[in-house]
Subunit: 712 residues, 2 copies
C-alpha cells in the first residue's frame, strides 16, 4: 500500500471526472463505449450501422431485448426499492432477455403473440450484487438468489477506469518515469486477478493492472513494462498494492511491430495476389426473417448477439428432405466460458488465468467486423444491442456476419474407376452457411464460426488470432537463457518472451434431437479377438452404452479407446430401427493438464473433461458459474455434474470443450496468423439417407459473368 | 476347386480373347484403359485433354517420363535379354521416372542440362518379377533386388480380367442364376486377397472376386450378392475356389440409389441454392512453369501425377519475406500407402484389408476431375501419363487440379476492444493454393488436397466420399438382429449392412527444413508443481528432446501427454537462437487397434504409430513395401524403423498416418457426403516473424464486377 491519503483524495476526484466522461458518451444509444487515448480514428474505421434500432420491436420469443424494452426495464428498476432511493448508485452489469420457458418457445408459431417479455438483470447497488427478473408488461421485479462467491462480469467502465487508476499513484508514476517511459505513451490493461484463496481477495473486487509503452507503435503489447503490477480496488479505484520488480528488464525495442495497413506504408505495399472473391450475383440463398431468423437450404435458426456469450444460435432445425417437416437439432448453442491459463507462476504472471466470457464479456469485446476482410463481400451483417454501466442501451454494429461460403470443396463425389470401366463421373460442390463473430479480449482475437452444411452438419470453429501477451526479459538470444531456470516460453524478439498458455472454449449445446427427450450414448469401438484357426485374429466391434447419469458422461478423449458420442432421441428410430441421433465429432483439441486442485483449475474445472452432459437447468448456463469474476469455483459445470443426476431420456445439454496448447513461436510475432480448430455436430441416423443425394451439380450456364474491377 | 478341365480350357481361350480386347485400346496413347460394360458414356463426361503430350520434353530433373521416354524405355526392355526372347510375355506393372539423386536435383538450376534420365521399371516375365533401372541415354538396363514376398501393383488388366474370370465357371454361373440375377446385370469387383499365412497363398497371385447386381441402378454396390466369393488365379484366370454361402440372403432391393444427376431427373430437380463461385477475373496468382513447377505467393514446388502415389509434391520451398531467398521445406511428399481393414472376420469379408496404393495404384484409380464440381471454376488442370500392361503410355487427363481458394476466412486480425478504446480494426483475408486429386478405388473416393498457405503452412487434407462397401443381410429392421451375434455394422437400408472399417493414409514427407541436415525434436508440455506457498500450484513447462534414433521417433499421440513434433535444421537458428523448424500438427485422426500380430496388421504395421522418422533411403519409399500385393509384411516402415538407425542431424523422412474409424450410418447411403481430416506442416521459428504481417487487406475497388449468368 503505497498510496497516501492525498493520492486517495486525488483518485476520488479523478474517478468522478472519469465517470462523468464515461457517462457523456452513454447519452446516445448508438455510440460504442470507447474512449480513444492514443489515436484519432481513421474515418474508414468508424462503422455505422445501416439500421437504426430505436423502433425495433420483438418478433420472436427469443429476440433480444429492444432498445425500448431495455429502457423500460431500466426505468422499472430505477423506480424499484431499494434502488429508487439512490438510482445513481445502481450499476448495471447485464440486462438481457430472460428467455421464456422452452415449452413456450416450442409451442409458439409465427403470428402468435409473444410469451411475456422478461428481462434478466444483474446489478450492483451499494456494493451488493442482485440478480433480478423483470416482467416488462407487469412492471414487476423479482429477486433471485446469487452465487456464494464471485462478482458479475465487469462493466466496460470497470475495465477502463481500473486501467487508469494507477496513474493517480505517485509510486507508480515514479516507477514509470524511472523506466524511461513517458506517461503520454502509457497504455495499461486491466487483468482479471483470479482467486487464489487469500484473505485479501474476499473483501472486494480487485483487478491487476499492467502497463505497456506505446512509444512508436500501435502495438504496445510488444512493449511490456515487465514486473510492474498494480493491484486496484475496482470499486474505489484505490491502488491496493504495487509489485515493482524487473526494473532492470529493458522495455523491448523491436521495430516494425505496427501491423496496421496505413502504418505499414499502405498502398505502396506489394500486392502478391490478384483479387479473388466469392461471388453470387443472383444474391444469397439465405434470408433473415424479422432480423434474427436465418433460413438457408432447409436450415432455420435464430441468431443473436449476447453481451456475455457473443453469438447465440437458438432453435436450430433442419427440413427433412423427404417429409419437408422441420426437425429440431439444437435448442441453444453458444460459447459458455473460456479459460486461458498462462504457464508462468511468477509474481507478474501467475494470476493470468482469464475466463474471458464471464470476466470481460465475450460479446462486449466483439467489435464491428470489417467488411471484405473479416467476412467476404457477400456477407450480411447483424448488430448487437448492449448496455452501459448506467443501463442505457447502445448498438454494437456489424457484430455478427452471415455468409455463404464456397471454398472449392466437394460435397460428395463418385467416379467409376478403370476397375469397372463405367463412365460415371459425379460430383457436387460443397456450399455452407457461416455465422461469425470475432471477440478481441484486449490482445487476443477469437473468431467463432457456426457453419451449417447441407448434409446436416453444424461445424463450430474457433480461430485464434490477434496479439500475444508477452513478457519482457533480459535476453536477446537463446544462449543467454539461464541453464536451470524455466523461461516460461519462447524468445520471439529481443527482450520478448511469448509465454506458454492454453485456450479452452467450452460450448453449451442444448441438443434437441428431433424433440427434447434425448439420451447420450457412447458408441465404443474395441478389439475383439477371433477364435483360433480363423484367418483374422482380430477385428473392431461397436458397442452402445446409454449414459444413465452425469458421471457416465464425463468424457476424456482417448485415441486408443475410441468412442463416438451420440445424442439420440429416446423415443424415435429410423424406419430401420436405428436411434435417431446427432454425434459430436471432436477434431484437434488439447486437454487441461494443471493440478485439478490448483485454484485456477478449480475455477476452470469445466475443462477437466472434453465432454459433459447435464440435465437442462435454467440456472446452469455458464460453465464457470454465473458470477465468474474472482469466484472460488463452487458454481462450475464440474460441481453441477458431480451431483450425478439422471440424464437418460431427458432434456439434456451437451458441453464440449475445445482446447489449444500454445507454445509461441517467432511467426506469432508481432501479430499471429490465425490458428483454428473445430468440432462437428453431425447427423447419425437422423436422416433416412444422405440428405444431399439429390443436390444438383454446378453448371457453367448458371455461374456469374465477371470482369475485373474498373480500377484494375 | 470346382472348375473342371473343360472350364479351364474355355477360360484360356477367353483370357486370350480378353487380352486381345484389352490390347486393342492400348494402341492410342490418349485412350484411358476402360471398357464399358453397362453404360453408354454421356458425351459430357468424356474429358479430352486440351494438351497433347506426344511432343512433351522433360524440363526439370523431377519431371515425369514423357511419352517418348516411356516409348524408348519400353523399346530398350523389349530388346534386352531375356525379355527380347519373348516380348509378348513381358508385363509392365510400372514404368516411371527413376528420380536423380537429391544432390543432383538440388544443384540443378533452370537452364542447366538435366541429370541423366532414368526409368525405374517393374515387370513380370514368365511369372517372375523384375525391378530394373534403365538409363535412357545409354540404353543400359540394370537389375535390382526384389522383395522376398509380395507381388507388384496390379495392372488394370489384372483387375478387369480377374473380375471377368468367374463368368467362365459353370458353378459360379449356376449360383448367380439360382439367386435370380441375370448375367447381363452382373458387375464383379476384384478384391485384393491379402495374406493370411496359408500354403495356397505362396504359390501364386490370387484375387478374390465378389459380384453385384446392377439391376435398375448404376449403384450396383448397393446390390451385393452376399456370400459368394470366387478365388481366382490372377495369372491363369483360373477359378481356384468358390465360397458359396448366404444363398438365402436376398439381394437388397432399395430404390433411388442411383446418384447420377441424369438418372435423378436432371434439370427438373429443385435447385435450393443460388449460384456461387470463386471469381478472379484478373486471372490466377499462380503460374505453372514448364508444365510442373507451380509458383504462388512465394511458394514454389514441383507437382506431378504418379501411378502409385497419385499426386507428388516435390522440392517445395518458400521465399523468405525478408531476404527473398527461396528456402526449402519439403523435398518430396505423397501418400505412400493406404490401409483399409474391414471389421468383419467372416468368410466373405475377412480378407478385405485393402492397401490401395500398392495393390491398386492410387494414381491409376484417379479419374479425370470434373470441372466446376470437383474443382472450382478458377482451376487449372494437369494430366498424368501412365502405362498399360504392355508398356504403352496413355494420358489420364485432368487428373490434378490447382486453384486458389478463398472461403471467406481470416489470415490474421486484430481489433482493439473497448478495454483500450483504440480505434484499430485490421484483418486480412486468407487465400490459399490447393493442389487436388481424387482417386476412386472401386467404390471409395479419396480426395487428397495439398493446400499451401501464405503463412508458410502446408495443410494435407484427405476427404472420403464415394460409396460404402456393404454387406447383404437377412434383416430389414434392427429388431431382427440376433441378440448375441455381431452384425459387424449398421443397417443402412433393408438387407444392407454398412460394415465398420478403418482408413489409414500414410504420408511420406521428406522434410528438408532449410536444407537437408535435419533433426526430429519432441517438444513436450508437462505439468510442473510449484513450491509450497505460491499462489499457483502448477504450470506447464516445455522441454525439448532431440530424437537420436528411429525408436525415439515412433510416436503414438496422447491428448494427456502432449508434444509438438518439430523437424529442425540441425545447423541453423534464427537470429535469436531458436532452431529453424517446421512442425507436424495432427488434427482429428484414428489409431490402429487390431492385434499387431494379426496378418493384415503385420502388413499394415506402418500404421502402428502416427509418426515415424527414418533416415532417407531410396529403397524406403513405400510404407507397406515395394511389392505390397500379398506380401507378408517384411518390408514395411515398421520393419525398417526397428533397425533404430541414427536420425539426428541427417537427411530424414517424416511419416505421418492420418486415420479414420468409420461406423457407417444411414446418411452414408447410397453415397457418402465427404468426411475430411487433415494435418499441417507448420513453420515454427522458421521465419524471423509473421511472414504475412505485410499482406494488404481486400479493398472494394479491387474486387470483380459480376452479373448473373445470361441464362439466369
Amino acid at each position: 500500500m503505497d498510496s497516501s491519503v492525498l493520492y486517495r483524495s486525488i483518485l476520488c476526484v479523478c474517478s468522478a471526472l472519469l465517470l462523468i466522461f464515461t457517462l457523456s458518451w452513454l447519452q446516445t444509444p448508438t455510440a460504442p463505449p470507447t474512449f480513444s487515448r492514443l489515436f484519432t480514428p481513421h474515418p474508414k474505421l468508424i462503422q455505422s450501422s445501416a439500421h437504426h434500432h430505436e423502433s425495433d420491436i420483438p418478433r420472436h420469443p427469443l429476440d433480444p431485448l429492444t432498445i425500448s424494452e431495455i429502457t423500460a426495464a431500466r426505468a422499472i428498476l430505477f423506480s424499484h426499492p431499494p434502488f429508487s432511493s439512490s438510482p445513481s448508485s445502481l450499476i448495471f452489469h447485464s440486462l438481457a432477455l430472460d428467455e421464456p420457458d422452452k415449452s413456450a418457445v416450442l409451442s409458439w408459431s409465427s403470428g402468435d403473440s409473444l410469451p411475456p417479455r422478461r428481462a434478466s438483470v444483474v446489478v450492483r447497488f451499494k456494493g451488493e450484487a442482485h440478480l433480478l427478473a423483470i416482467d416488462l408488461a407487469k412492471g414487476s421485479v423479482s429477486s433471485l438468489p446469487t452465487p456464494a462467491t464471485g462478482f458479475p462480469t465487469m462493466t466496460i467502465e470497470d475495465m477502463t477506469s481500473s486501467a487508469a487508476a494507477p496513474l493517480l499513484d505517485a509510486a507508480f508514476n515514479r516507477s514509470i518515469i524511472a523506466r524511461g517511459v513517458r506517461i503520454s505513451d502509457l497504455a495499461c490493461l486491466p487483468v482479471s486477478s483470479g482467486w487464489f484463496g487469500r484473505e485479501i481477495e474476499n473483501r472486494r473486487r480487485l483487478i491487476k493492472v499492467q502497463c505497456y509503452s506505446s512509444e512508436g507503435t500501435a502495438n504496445f503489447y510488444m512493449r511490456p513494462i515487465e514486473g510492474l503490477t498494480v493491484l486496484v480496488d475496482m470499486d474505489t479505484k484505490e491502488v491496493v498494492q504495487i509489485n515493482d520488480e524487473g526494473g532492470d528488464i529493458p522495455i523491448p525495442k523491436s521495430t516494425g511491430t505496427d501491423y496496421r495497413y496505413e502504418a505499414a506504408g499502405g498502398n505502396e505495399m506489394a500486392r502478391p495476389l490478384r483479387p479473388i472473391s466469392i461471388e453470387q450475383p443472383e444474391g444469397p440463398s439465405f434470408d433473415v426473417v424479422d432480423g434474427h431468423r436465418v433460413r438457408w437450404a432447409g436450415w432455420e435458426f435464430h441468431l443473436k448477439a449476447d453481451a456475455r456469450a457473443g453469438l447465440v444460435v437458438s432453435s436450430a432445425g433442419v427440413a427433412d428432405p423427404v417429409s419437408g417437416e422441420r426437425r429440431s437439432v439444437l435448442y441453444k448453442g453458444y460459447a459458455s466460458e473460456l479459460f486461458v491459463p498462462y504457464m508462468d507462476p511468477t509474481d507478474a504472471w501467475y494470476f493470468k488465468t482469464y475466463m474471458d466470457a464471464g470476466e470481460y464479456g465475450f460479446g462486449l469485446q466483439a467489435m464491428p467486423l470489417i467488411p471484405l476482410n473479416d467476412c467476404p463481400r457477400n456477407a450480411y451483417y447483424m448488430d448487437g444491442i448492449f448496455i452501459a454501466a448506467d443501463g442505457r442501451p447502445y448498438v454494437r454494429s456489424n457484430m455478427i456476419c452471415v455468409f455463404e461460403s464456397y471454398a472449392g470443396d466437394i460435397g460428395w463425389r463418385h467416379s467409376e474407376s478403370p476397375i469397372t470401366g463405367l463412365e460415371i463421373r459425379e460430383a457436387r460442390p460443397k456450399v455452407t452457411l457461416v455465422a461469425r463473430m470475432a471477440a478481441s479480449v484486449a490482445n487476443y482475437d477469437y473468431i467463432v464460426d457456426w457453419e451449417f452444411q447441407t448434409d446436416g452438419i453444424i461445424r463450430v470453429k474457433v480461430g485464434l488470432s490477434g496479439i500475444l501477451m508477452v513478457k519482457g526479459a533480459p535476453y536477446t538470444h537463446v544462449k543467454h537463457f539461464p541453464a536451470k531456470q524455466d523461461t516460461y516460453g519462447t524468445l520471439l524478439s529481443e527482450n520478448i518472451i511469448g509465454v506458454i498458455h492454453d485456450h479452452f472454449i467450452t460450448f453449451h449445446l442444448d441438443m434437441d434431437v428431433d424433440g427434447t427427450n434425448n439420451s447420450f450414448v457412447k458408441v465404443g469401438l474395441a478389439r475383439q479377438d477371433t477364435n483360433a484357426g480363423q484367418p483374422r485374429r482380430s477385428y473392431l466391434k461397436a458397442t452402445r452404452h446409454v449414459a444413465r447419469t452425469e458421471k457416465e458422461a464425463q468424457i476424456k478423449l482417448k485415441l486408443y479407446e475410441p468412442y463416438e458420442f451420440h445424442v439420440v432421441n429416446a423415443e424415435k428410430t429410423t424406419r430401420l430401427g436405428n436411434p435417431v441421433g446427432y454425434k459430436v465429432v471432436p477434431a484437434g483439441t488439447a486437454a487441461a493438464l494443471l493440478d485439478p486442485n490448483d485454484p485456477p483449475q478449480l475455477r476452470g474445472a469445466f475443462t477437466n473433461n472434453q465432454i459433459w452432459v447435464t440435465p437442462r437447468n435454467k440456472t446452469e448456463e455458464w460453465a464457470g458459474g454465473l458470477f465468474v469474476y474472482q469466484n472460488q469455483g463452487e458454481d462450475t459445470l464440474a460441481v453441477w455434474s458431480e451431483r450425478d443426476r439422471s440424464i437418460e431420456s431427458k432434456d439434456i445439454v451437451l458441453w464440449y470443450t475445445l482446447g489449444f496448447h500454445h507454445i509461441p513461436c517467432q511467426e506469432d510475432f508481432p501479430i499471429m496468423p490465425t490458428v483454428s480448430s473445430s468440432f462437428d455436430l453431425k447427423p447419425v441416423n437422423f436422416f433416412e439417407r444422405n440428405p444431399i443425394l439429390r443436390s444438383p451439380p454446378n453448371m457453367e450456364k448458371d455461374l456469374p459473368v465477371c470482369t475485373a474491377a474498373a480500377s484494375a
